[in-house]
Point group: C2
Chain length 344, copies 2
């Protein structure tokens, strides 16, 4: 895994450095490409090397391993994997502004350090850089396949933005159904993992039929990942997640635990839960504790664990349905297994 | 011009409607594609058709006419012209958030109606849509030319973001030189007009050499356009510009008039001008009036008029340097002439 990550980081770095070389020296101006390197974990707030990387890089890894599973080599997937990770990070920077999140990966978010306006720029820059990485990938393919890689990448962007639009819309709604929640996370999270697996197969030269099965696998894995995230957002260990216990409750996020709770709660409890959403602010610790007690009372943790388990099993099944030799798919299986037991 | 605009609007509409068809029906969610149509002037705040279009569409028109000047037809340039206008509007939506601008084209800005978070999404969506339009354009060209069209589009995006980074950085600087200002507007404004002229020529099949001269023309026109904008931002007629008289002064923008004033002012006046920048808020009417008086005292309006005139003449000269028959370049000349006398 070390060398796979190295290939991904190098591809991202190359794309960023080419453009950073064009940035004019104007005294007092924010070095925006350094801000991107901060977000990606390469530099600290004073723009000094951190010596470590950050982020799980799970999406580009999925792409690389889909490529080898489909009969290609890592190297063939390096540019498109970099494009996927750059794209993902563009959405993270903008999400953090929208959600007013102060920390990410145990460090202050870009907007928290440099303000909303420059954080919007940082996200926009990563979007453009992601396209340039994807163009490198496309230029190594036969023309029609290259164009498909690019079209689908941008359709995926629109689906992700739609997911974020829904997520934000849910904040001011009293009634959000589980169905609506799954429509939202399918777009916000699973479309990009579907793309990562699909694109890995495509650059390896897979047929449309095989690539579509890779997309199904990636989509299933993305759904499992997001529901697991929702689990950790309530019951995760603060030391592992980097977030306070019950953080999603405090922030009044309509994540899956709360939607399951609403389905199960008595009318009185349900009315009280909804009343907490009408607050303009984060919830106080007493209210969060009362929500945690209700979640325990209605057995929501067990239901969440069951759902997380079922969705990971579904991803495994989709992997089996690729119909590829087990030694080719083993590295992908390792991703599923690692994600299924993650605690942060 | 009517039918040229029609071609551009139709191409933009087609790209948007294809993706809007994928947006899920979830009760209570913001119809984000309608928000884009609002921004583009097609719908009102209640998402009812306005019956009119809005925006000058000057960049896509430049692209269409560059295409015909280089020997192509309008239709060849429709997709890339649409991509350029969608891209431009993505930057406008994000700029309006960053600048806290309440109105654009005499209507409330997207963030002012739907909030910052959804406005960030709206800009991101237009960015993705712009790429999809550019992919349509690229798919009609020989592969290498298509890839060049796309690479350069995304390099242009990065230059525009860099320009915006500089512009925002200038807000907190005491000393901004005219040189730094021109570096900033070359990126923020002139790179896209350069791309528009270059891309029009490229889709017409122009040689790299000829396309590069189109880019030089587009760049010169962009610089003239931006300096003219700075002129109108201080002395423009509110009825024409849709902004209050002296609006750029009120908002403490370090536009060219104020930089020229700083060069010419006495040390005392200069110190006073700089002191106004330290305010956290927009300037009050009395301070704006005093700045207008200083601009008059130091003859800045005449200097600005001279600069606007000189930059438009430079654009005309670049147009002549294309070395094309006058009947082919006449529609481009008409753009330069119309822009040179615009009052809003």
């Amino acid at each position: 895994m070390e060398s796979e990550i190295f290939v991904i980081e190098e591809a991202m770095r190359t794309i960023i450095e080419r453009q950073a070389a064009c940035f004019p020296v104007v005294e007092g101006s924010l070095p925006i490409y350094h801000v991107l390197s901060y977000h990606l974990g390469w530099l600290d707030e004073q723009f000094q090397p951190t010596g470590v990387s950050s982020g799980k890089r799970f999406r580009p890894l999925l792409c690389l391993r889909a490529c080898t599973a489909a009969g290609g080599t890592w190297q063939q997937a390096a540019w498109i994997a970099a494009a996927i990770e750059l794209l993902h990070n563009f959405t993270l920077i903008h999400d953090d502004i929208q959600d007013r999140s102060l920390t990410r990966r145990h460090r202050p978010t870009v907007w928290a350090v440099w303000g909303d306006a420059q954080a919007i720029n940082a996200g926009d820059a990563l979007f453009g850089l992601s396209q340039l990485a994807a163009l490198e990938a496309a230029s190594q393919l036969e023309a029609a396949r290259g164009m498909e890689l690019l079209s689908r990448l941008n359709e995926t962007v629109l689906r992700i933005v739609e997911g974020q639009v829904l997520d934000l819309s849910f904040e001011s709604l009293d009634a959000v159904t589980k169905d609506a929640y799954f429509v939202m996370i399918e777009r916000k999270t699973a479309q990009l993992t579907a793309y990562a697996a699909w694109a890995g197969a495509m650059v390896a030269g897979a047929s449309s039929e095989l690539a579509a099965r890779f997309a199904d696998f990636g989509r299933a894995l993305g759904l499992a990942f997001q529901v697991h995230d929702d689990y950790l957002g309530v019951w995760g260990d603060p030391l592992q997640t980097g977030k306070a216990r019950g953080d999603d409750l405090r922030r009044r996020k309509k994540s899956l635990p709360i939607l399951i709770l609403l389905e199960r709660a008595s009318p009185d409890d349900r009315a009280w839960i909804r009343s907490t959403w009408r607050s303009e602010h984060d919830l106080d610790p007493v209210t969060v504790e009362r929500l945690l007690k209700l979640l325990a009372q209605y057995d929501v943790e067990a239901a969440m664990k069951e759902t997380v388990w079922r969705l990971h099993a579904e991803a495994q099944a989709r992997l089996d349905q690729l119909g590829l030799p087990v030694e080719r798919t083993a590295p992908l299986r390792a991703i599923v297994e690692r994600l299924a037991v993650r605690e942060g």
